[in-house]
Structure formats: C-alpha cells, structure tokens
Amino acid sequence: MPLSYEEIISHESQGNPAEGLRRLVLRGSVAATARPGQFLHVRVSDRLEPLLRRPLSIASIDRTRGEVTLLYRVRGRGTETLARKRSGERLDVLGPLGNGFSIPEKGELWLVAGGIGIFPLYALARAGLAAGLKVHLFWGGESRNFLQSAGLAEWQDLGIPLHLSTMDGSLGDKGTVMLPLGKAEDPRSAANRLSGQPLPALSVAVCGPRGMMQAVAELGSARGWRVEVSLEERMACGVGACLGCSVTVRDERGRLTNRKVCQDGPVFPGKEVVWNGAR
C-alpha cells in the first residue's frame, strides 16, 4: 500500500493512565486491505528527532467505516511523541505492512498473548470468528488492573472462552499464561491419548515476550499444533530494504538463513524460528 496520511479519528489514553496505554483510531485507505497481524510504520513527527518511524500492529479493522485501531504503550521518545498527536491531525503511515496471521480453514484457533502482545490478536479473533472458527484466548499479564486497561472488557464482549493469568494472582491463575494454556491442553491431549483419534486441527497464534513465544512454540511442536508467532525487532525501513530486522530461521531443508521481520514477518511459523539466534 502506498504511503497514506490517515486522519486521526480519536486518540486517547486507555484504562489506568499509569499503564501508559493509548488507543489510536485512524481513518483512511489502510482499512481496505489490512489483515490481522500486519502493522503500520508510523512517522511520529515531522521533526528530525525522533527520526525513525515506529512499527505498530493493527489491533482492529473496521472496513465499513474505513478505520483501523492501533493500541500501544508509551515507552520511549517515539511513542511519547506520537502520544501528542490529536484527533483531526493526519498521520503519515506506511502500510499495511508484513504478512499477518493465517486464518485456518477449520478447526480451533487458540490465541496466546503475553502482556501487550494482546494487541494484534483482537483483529485476528474477530476474523477467526467471522470465519466460523472456535476461538480461545489465553492471556497473561501483570495484574487485573493491567488486563482491564489493556482491553479485557472488549474481549469479554466477544463471548469467547478466556483463560487468564496474572503475575500477582489478582485475576485468573497466578503466574504466566503457560499455566492456563497447560490446563486447557492437558485434558485435550489426555482425551487424545485415550481415544487415539486425531484431534481437530489446532492453530495457535502467539504474541508476547520472546521467552513465552518460544515456550508455546516448543509445546506446540511437541503436540503437533500449527503455531504462528509474531516477532518484534527494531526496524528502520519497514519494507525489507535495510536488513536491520533480520531473524534467523531454519528453512525447509534445515539450513539456517535470514528472514526480515518487516517483510517476511512479523508472523512466522513457530517451528522455523531459531530461538537462541538473538541474545
């Protein structure tokens, strides 16, 4: 998609202000072609500092209104500067960029999120539901407060099974998302062991901290799930031209080779990623 100057429809802090989360709704040409898991490369300022664009996932897509929503956490100078943009202003974005998640033809779609890794999964949940899939969400965060700030209510509105965990135990299991995930897959595998019947195909989409994505990918490959992970890497160009966002993968023939997170990703089959490739 060509460069687009999207109109900012709304731009607000979301949830507890201490979490620093913002919701940005854009109207323009992006919505027409955006797919879940793709991202926009956003120019946060027309001054020269901060200089580079910042990649932000497309959190939800409303084709009828021509709108996409981005959800982000204010971290450093880039997102701080972006946070000052007001509705009515235009935002210079490249995108939609990247490949996005695949939406399976049938079977179950499990979404596994750590922290703000939840953001790109919402659009996928809706697409999955629209495709008639059975969708589950597994989501771990710091606290109830965080989950609520990061959009729990909207997930509840989807009416899908939510399997939650928090580090402080204030909601769901106490610990990482691997706990509820384990609980759900255990009976499933057990049933499978008992019956010997092949289970309905399970597709798992993961977004969160690297270690957590690795754990899910490894579990998934043991269980024969079709796992896709959404990787993050620092980006300059966003279109495959600078080789700044390389990730090492094992290709079909088992050889190590490089892919670009921006162009070949950000979504990769979990089994391809060489997890110790990065520090």
Partner: protein, 316 residues
C-alpha cells in the same frame, strides 16, 4: 550574481549529470544498504525516479551478518550494525543481477571484502556483467590481514584496493570513503592514485549507544555506523575538503532528507548526491528532492544542476 537574476526563467532544467563514465538522468542516487536491491520501495517510490541506485554491499561469500539488535536510534541519527548481510557473489549473479539489470535506472553495485583479493575477485566477476553502470568500492570494512583496521582509514591500503579493482574492470570505479579518519583529503588522493573515477562519501561514522537500564551496548555488535541528519555537517565538510584536494567527481551523502540538504552538498562540491537513512523516514524523499532541485535552479537562474557543483567554494 547575474545568474541570480533568473536567466532560465520557466525553462526546463537539465537534471542530467556526467561523472567520469557514469551518466545519470538526475543526480539523486539511493545509498547502498538502505535501498535493498531496488524494488523494496516500489509501492512508495517508482525506482525510475532515481538517477541511480547503489545496491547492498556484496561480498564473495554469503554472510548472515551481525546479531540483532542491529539498529539503534540516536538524536537525528541511526546506528546500524547489519554486518554486511548479503547473498554472496554467486547468488547475487544468479538471482539478483538479472532482475536488477532490467531496472529503468543506473545500477551501481557496492562491493566489500576483507582482503585485496576479495575486492579483485568481485571486480573481475562483476566487471564482465551487463547491466551494471558502475562498481562502488566500500573500503570501510575491516582488513583482516592488518589486525582489523579498516582499509578505508589507511591511505596505502585504500590505494591498493582501488588499484586492484581498477585492474579488473572497465566499469567506472567509485571509491567510497570512510569519514573515520584524521584527514579525508589524504584518502581522497590515495584513491585517485589508485585509479578511481569517482569518489563517494561519506560512509558511516563509528558510534555506539548503551542501554542504561540493561547496562550493556544496545547493538549486538557493540559498535555501529552512524548515519542520518546528525552527521550532515561532518559530511558536507568532507565533501568540501575533497573537492579541493582532488579533481574527481564526487557523490556526496550523509543525512540528506530534503532538497535543501541536497543543494548544500552540491554547493560544497558534489556532482551528485546519495540518500540513505532519509528513505527510512520518508520514502518520497527522492521525488521531493528532485522537485526542489528544479525549482531552486529556476529561482536562482541555473539551467543545469551541474552549475551548482562547488559554487559555495568561491564565496568563502
């Protein structure tokens, strides 16, 4: 100046430039390593916009490059430590060059090596191919034979590398200078002696940045190359100095993000300019620069961009 009176009126501005053996329809070139293999930005900027494109540096063998993170943003600048990730000569010839050769712009192949023989090999092999407008010799790589010091920081090695390339090809040879030196003029004279047709500068300044919360360097490689607007004053100064030191045409670069920056380099002594990091910020920058160059020429009464080269030198 009489020129300023607007002699050229509303007439067409001649954007073409001729650098020894390298003719470009306009003086704006995509800088090596920032524009992939020419097609990545297709949706944003038609490749024919450019006077030329310099492709990512090629080495004899394929390279996976450095560990991530490879990028860090600094004030008005970018640090990169890609580490010359590239498909290697063989794969380049097989899978990349055929598509490049068809592009409606001049294709410059940037070559890198860790020994004089590496450069000679690349020149020998690429020098025979169709569809290459020039070779750009990146001498900012560590010289493995000489304890890792860059070829580009020692006049003797720089001359040797350029001479080795020169011997192997009839293509125009562009020597790309590193700014990490005490006296850029010495290096410029060295590559002139080595037989370079054209000089391009600057490559990146060596820099680093530290993640204070993690207490370790941001880049996987510790050091990286600084580019972008932050380095422009250093780059313009070096173009100015090289213009005075040698008679070769100059491709100036370092921090160009708008037409004023391009004009600044040309007034300092550049015959053409390259845009690198600026593409990351705004992929429309080449067409904006060209439009700006044209209207600048018109406003100041120049009929050709070639008239700009070195003009500020006479006024200092």
């Amino acid at each position: 100046m009489a020129r300023d009176k607007g002699a050229a009126g509303g007439a067409e501005i001649d954007l073409g430039v001729r650098l020894t053996g390298l003719e470009l329809k306009n003086p704006v070139i995509a800088a090596s390593g920032t524009y992939g293999f020419g097609r990545e930005y297709d949706l944003y900027c038609p490749v024919e916009t450019w006077g030329g494109i310099a492709v990512k540096g090629i080495t004899p063998e394929p390279r996976l490059g450095n560990p991530v993170p490879r990028l860090a943003e600094t004030p008005a600048g970018v640090l990169n430590a890609v580490g010359l990730e590239n498909p290697g000569l063989e794969e380049f010839l097989k899978s990349y060059l055929p598509r490049l050769a068809d592009l409606p712009t001049a294709v410059i192949v940037n070559i890198s090596g860790f020994s004089v023989e590496d450069y000679a090999l690349l020149a020998r092999s690429l020098g025979r191919e169709k569809g290459i407008a020039a070779l750009e010799v990146n001498i900012s790589c560590p010289n493995v034979r000489h304890g890792g010091l860059q070829f580009g920081t020692d006049p003797g090695s720089a001359e040797e590398v350029v001479a080795a390339v020169r011997r192997e090809t009839d293509l125009p040879v562009i020597a790309k200078l590193s700014p990490n030196v005490t006296d850029i003029r010495e290096l410029a004279r060295a590559v002139e002696r080595g037989g370079a047709d054209i000089i391009s500068l600057i490559n990146t300044l060596v820099g680093m940045s530290i993640d204070v919360e993690e207490k370790r360097p941001v880049l996987g490689n510790v050091f990286g190359g600084l580019s972008g607007p932050a380095v422009r004053p250093v780059a313009v100064r070096m173009v100015w100095e090289v213009y005075q030191a040698v008679d070769l045409p100059i491709i100036g670069m370092g921090g160009i993000t708008c037409w004023q920056d391009a004009v600044e380099f040309m007034l300092a002594g550049a015959d053409a300019v390259s845009i690198g990091s600026g593409n990351f910020v705004n992929p429309l920058v080449p067409s904006e620069v060209l439009a700006g160059l044209e209207s600048y020429c018109r406003r100041h009464g120049f009929s050709s961009v070639r008239e700009l080269t070195g003009l500020a030198q006479s006024k200092s």
